[in-house]
Amino acid sequence: MKVMVPVKRVVDYNVKVRVKSDNTGVELANVKMSMNPFDEIAVEEAIRLKEAGKVEEIVVVSIGPKAATETIRTGLAMGADRGILVEHDDEIHPLAVAKILKGIVGEENPDIVLLGKQAIDDDCNQTGQMLAQLLGWAQGTFASKVEAEDGSLNVTREVDGGLETVKLNLPAIVTTDLRLNEPRYASLPNIMKAKRKPIDEKTAADYGVDATPRLKTLKVEEPAAREAGIKVESVDELVGKLKEKGLI
């Protein structure tokens, strides 16, 4: 089988983001960028399927600026086989991303598209589901376990009430949740090797996709701050305060 893993270059999850003073967005200049953590889990899962002998080839795809090449290289250093960069400098939203990915799926014919359930920048949680619909494929979102069988996948999903398992006919889309796996660190030899793995370069126009956003961001603000309250000295004082407020 062949797996395609779309990955997004986002602000590193350790960075405390700051809203720009002109309220047009968040500060991205000189900020550390990394692969979206959920996508890293997706790359790891694809590699594990390959190590288990279920998958022969892993293609990592990123849509973004030239610098997203680094994000693809990260996936190649972890163990993916080759990359595709769809160079796009402007803001792009999930629907357009899903349309471009559909175009790539048409050329690559993967059996599984594995991707993060959401990106930690725009927190949309849409791309996998949209791609599944555009392709008419089954989806297993928020996956905490993926088992490949002949012609199908069993995906255990993290849902509000607990866990749920669905069986998907292949080809299918899987989006990853936090507890699917712990991604590996790339070793130095593998980082070196990744530099020689091929990365094709494309644009949105190659797939006939108009990537103009349908949503316009009017402004970006800091959330309302919550004031710190008081320290209490004892459990009794705490219980007293809560009773005073009628909370317990």
């Binding site: 398992t165 316009k216 009017l218």
Partner: protein
């Protein structure tokens, strides 16, 4: 203008997140509800009583028993022509199927809205709630998931909507339900509880959550956890409060042994009153707590239970 709201339910009861979604939907004018399930007549009846709703569509078919995204999406896509807006609660069900509807209609989805500014403009959190974006949609229909804690709940009583039975859409046949391990608890659900007590990495083990359970039983509270506690295997995933878990906003939130990572704060900082119990007085959780107690939780929590 007319909005369609997807009713979140378990084939027996309407979930509270639906009521908040109805409130958000009222901006668009007339509100219709969609109940898709199997053996879900009681849900359809309850839905007719929700205040501000004029019609309830009920699709009662085995196809919808487990709310598979492919099937729910097909049903809603077939209904979309009649509506100017389609809203679902931002639950794992809503997040699962609604983007499929948006893609089929060739429209953007606006995820997790926390405020309706006007019929085409909405506020939504980005970067785990560290920034709030105001976005304007140019699409003909607005496809929206709603963060339930950000809206008042519509009254579950007082309405008298008409029921219209609708037939199921054609089955897609690409996926099937295998099984579920749902947590069974006599306690209230996290997303609708008035009081929540949550444990973090500081609990040290799953067994130690018994201390939290004892307090929860006295208070009639729901029990939650930080991502660290879930990742460590102390409690199941459905306990997780945070940006990637459940978003909660109870009257009282008690955080025990939780340091207060941004990820966790994003899921609970809209609680009315926050109490933090942590032995590290530098823990970031104290910056958002109304009442902070610097103490060893293994002393303080049993003491709290006795004092209640």
């Amino acid at each position: 203008m007319t909005a369609l709201v997807f009713v979140e339910h378990d084939n027996a009861e309407v979930k509270d997140a639906t009521l908040a979604t109805v409130t958000a939907a009222k901006t668009f004018g007339d509100v219709h509800l969609l109940v898709a399930g199997s053996g879900c007549a009681s849900v359809g009846d309850a839905a007719t009583k929700i205040d501000g709703v004029s019609k309830v569509l009920v699709a009662d078919d085995a196809l919808y028993e487990h709310a598979l995204a492919e099937e729910l999406a097909n049903l809603v896509i077939g209904l979309a022509d009649s509506y100017d807006a389609i809203l679902a609660p931002a639950t794992t069900t809503g997040k699962n199927f609604l983007p499929r509807v948006a893609a089929a209609l060739d429209m953007a989805q606006i995820s997790d809205i926390i405020e309706v500014v006007s019929e085409d403009t909405f506020k939504r959190p980005i970067y785990a709630g560290n920034a709030i974006a105001t976005v304007q949609s140019s699409d003909a229909k607005k496809i929206i998931t709603v963060r339930a804690t950000a809206f008042d709940k519509a009254s579950a009583e007082g309405g008298s909507a008409a029921v219209e039975t609708i037939s199921a859409a054609a089955g897609s046949g690409v996926s099937s339900f295998v099984g579920a391990e749902l947590s069974k608890s006599d306690r209230p659900e996290l997303t609708s509880a008035k009081i929540i007590i949550s444990g973090g990495r500081g609990m040290g083990s799953g067994e130690n959550f018994a201390l939290i359970d004892a307090v929860a039983d006295k208070l009639g509270a729901a029990v939650g956890a930080s991502r660290a506690a879930v990742d460590a295997g102390f409690v199941p995933n459905d306990y997780q409060v945070g940006q990637t878990g459940k978003i909660v906003a109870p009257e009282l939130y008690i955080a025990v042994g939780i340091s207060g990572a941004i990820q966790h704060l994003a899921g609970m900082k809209d609680s009315k009153v926050i109490v933090a119990i942590n032995k590290d007085e530098e823990a970031p959780i104290f910056q958002v707590a109304d009442y902070g107690l610097v103490a060893d939780l293994f002393d303080a929590v049993p003491e709290l239970e006795k004092a209640l």
